[in-house]
Symmetry: C2
Subunit: 340 residues, 2 copies
Amino acid sequence: MKLTGQTWEFDTRPVLIGSAAVVGPDEGQGPLSPDFDYVYDNLEINEKTWEKAERRLLEQAAQLAVIKSGLDKEQIQFYVGGDLMNQIISSTFSARKLGVPYLGVFGACSTSMESLAISALMVDTGAAERVMAGTGSHNCTAEKQFRYPTEYGSQKPPTAQYTVTGAGCGVIAKGGQGQTGPRIARATIGRIMDLGVKDPFNMGAAMAPAAADTIAAHFRDTGLSPDYYDLIVTGDLASVGLPIAQELLEKEGYQMDETKFGDCGLMIYNREKQKAVLAGGSGCGCSAAVTYGHLVKRMLQRELHKVLVVATGSLHSPLSVQQGESIPCIAHAVALEMED
Amino acid sequence: MKLTGQTWEFDTRPVLIGSAAVVGPDEGQGPLSPDFDYVYDNLEINEKTWEKAERRLLEQAAQLAVIKSGLDKEQIQFYVGGDLMNQIISSTFSARKLGVPYLGVFGACSTSMESLAISALMVDTGAAERVMAGTGSHNCTAEKQFRYPTEYGSQKPPTAQYTVTGAGCGVIAKGGQGQTGPRIARATIGRIMDLGVKDPFNMGAAMAPAAADTIAAHFRDTGLSPDYYDLIVTGDLASVGLPIAQELLEKEGYQMDETKFGDCGLMIYNREKQKAVLAGGSGCGCSAAVTYGHLVKRMLQRELHKVLVVATGSLHSPLSVQQGESIPCIAHAVALEMED
């Protein structure tokens, strides 16, 4: 473990020995569908409430990640998780099912990489040998909690994003025991950026400065340049935020190759056909499902070798918006590397 | 860093180099009043909304902790914080003010020790040199969010607890640089315990098994016995939960000396005079203010040398209760030791 600025360089490079993503029907119609471990054909996820549906996604992703890691559930020592719900109930209930020591975290959509960074820190430093990291979201729980229940049919501007119904979990373990899987090389912990955006229907614009700030810090701290990575993905700036982040990074002197700079919220849907997603996907489950489903599989196939996932979080609440506050945002970055 | 079971033994014993507690008027009338750094005489905390009031308590505790640590704000490298609010907005807004890399956590009232344990882990392993940990709560934000706004005057049963208006923060740094202050010797991360209690007006009973489980794990993992500590304090089981935890521990074979086994929720108020607090205090701010205000000062005065703080969290949400779920609970323990 070496700290430079706000970046952790992991000496032992913990391994993602198993990961899984479980998604809903909209995500199943998107281009990444073949990479998800399970796709539900109904938005209810066979449950009676949206909240129970979200929990089920997360619990199943956790179960599948354990199975794919080749471990027994009892061998998982800690679970680090969070979600968008008030009091992160989806994670808590899935932690109850998992039955292991639990650290609840909250970083809105950045929770995916916050939990992975903390898990990697624990494994790298000997605080754990095997940790589960995970998060998830559901379109209808997020709509209900942050805006209006979907059933009301409220209209939205085209800058709005569509919360992903999905969950992703990964099991992180010490390297050097014959495991195969992407290794967690480093992580950059973000700071709050708030440039005064108050519109929760334009979170991409609100979060772009946080993404740019963390990416710039990552390059500054590590001495790496953007072309070191095969792919740098934000999650989730969508169609409005990504070009803003790109522009901000160029102003900082970092030229981002558009073919190697993407966004989970743009990758998960086919925006041409799936008009309802507007600017693109968002939610804890978006970057989690894209990372633990799609990206990890591309790395295991050796199609990608070095990936930086920069999960962005919009840390407002309905109440803070109602009280006239602007939206504080954050981004945490984790570098995954596949060794040959 | 050594892991045994679910307990971290910190090799370098990070030091709590500065800490502060800021509270409201009810807490100012309690027996620990002289140990708090600032006591507000009005429940509004000079703000226009209860949420802004809670945030102000946390921001001030953080500012005072930095000052008392002898550092500049810029020397704090990370902030680990959380609170009870939906989307932990109090912590997020205080992180925005602090301006440093931020890890949001959520463990309901266990957040105080969850954030301290993670901060100590970071410092012990070289992931950071100086970290701020903190949390806070406000009686009226918690009432409004979890039950009914205080102004409604809803009645409660005597098993209910009274959310503390207060915040506590600590600065954790590497030892061996001439600092004085309690050292963080070890931490036990709890798992979810849920024995089926569904009554949010009886959280002490719901949380007692989680406290007992973590305390028993702590002794099992460390080989220590209850008499090793001068004081073991839970936070917050109050008058209903503490005897239950004691009984559960006795069944596990751990005799708890009543003079050395206490509860932050019982310590912070004078229940004889302050009838409104019912079974005792609760809320993130309770164990935080008692630890960072009272306990640290008693340790600096060498009145206490070895203290185990076991912060308990009730991880329900109003929505999970409405959907008929029982209350999942957790407890995290941190051992503070004053070296002579």
